[in-house]
């Protein structure tokens, strides 16, 4: 079953400058792939994404980004929400975000856990799927 989730905090401003810091960055133009490794931190507006490894996949014509794939334990923090998962895949064109693997979403007092979170950052809506558990006003340590 799935629970629909409000994601106003994650609504993205596409024009805001993006600041990225990491240990290493390797860019392979033939493969259209850039790999950031080592405490990768991506900041855009109020959104901060941290992960040990982030892959940036470019479109065929080479300049535009098609997809960002963060792996190895991802946390996304915005003004209102915070989301954690093993993996996150963000499709730049559609603004679609898919987080999978022990997803934990905290929104103010409530925490929602599940296997997969599918969200549309444009409209700020999302759906949590897979063994969804919603916890309200729990102690901070409570997890599934």
């Amino acid at each position: 079953q799935g629970t629909s989730v409000g994601f106003s905090g994650l609504k993205q401003d596409p024009g805001a400058p993006v600041e990225v810091t990491s240990e290493t960055l390797s860019i392979d133009r033939d493969a259209g792939l850039a790999i950031l490794e080592g405490e990768v931190l991506v900041i855009q507006g109020e959104m901060r994404l941290t992960a040990p490894r982030v892959e940036v996949i470019y479109g065929t014509e080479g300049q535009q980004i098609k997809e960002i794939h963060a792996q190895g334990g991802v946390t996304i923090v915005t003004a209102a929400d915070a989301a954690e998962a093993r993996e996150a895949r963000y499709d730049v064109a559609t603004g679609g975000l898919v987080m999978s693997g022990d997803v934990l979403l905290t929104q103010g007092p409530s925490t929602i856990a599940g296997e997969r979170l599918v969200a549309d950052l444009r409209s700020g809506t999302g759906r949590m799927e897979g063994r969804v558990k919603t916890l309200f006003n729990t102690e901070p340590k409570a997890g599934n």
Partner: protein
Amino acid sequence: MRKRDKAHSRLVSLLKVGLPLTALALLSTVFLLARTLDPEDALPWATVDIEELLRDPRLTAPQYAGVTEEGDEILFTAARAWPGAATGAHAAEPVLRLISPAGEETRAVAETARIEPTAGELTLQTAVQLTTAGGYLMTTEKLDLKLDRSALTAPGEIRAEAPGTQLEAGSMQLTRTGAKGGEVVVFKGGVRLLYQPQSASSPSAPPSAP
């Protein structure tokens, strides 16, 4: 008839004396009125210090060309070159070009360079500017290149810029190990990248491919 003949012969004898005299006079003006010739500035010559030229032998506009194992062409030219301490040579205003078979060019310029053909090494130093085939302009202080490989290494701090993207890193290595022989650029030692999406209309597109 006699009187006229006498006059005629007197005229001829007068001319016989007068004409050569005027010829002499004309001739002398050639020397008297000639411009004063100054032998000093007759031959203009360069005021180059001959000793200095002899003391350290040098090459002007030296050129080095080679092909790396990856099949890229290396072209190295400079304004001047002079022998270094060991076997290598120093060069001023070097220009290094690495051209892939597909015609993509990576170019680097600097103030000085040291080339060591025996060890197959080339080092560009001070104010190194590197433009990659991908369109990144990178500035650093030192750039090393193995003459038989298409690998450029910037051991020190490096700044890179492309339209809408600025990047700083601790070090950089550029190789041509892409699938189609394209460039692979690896920044290490802490990377900080600032990307400004140009048009607000385009979806939030972080770093463009350099």
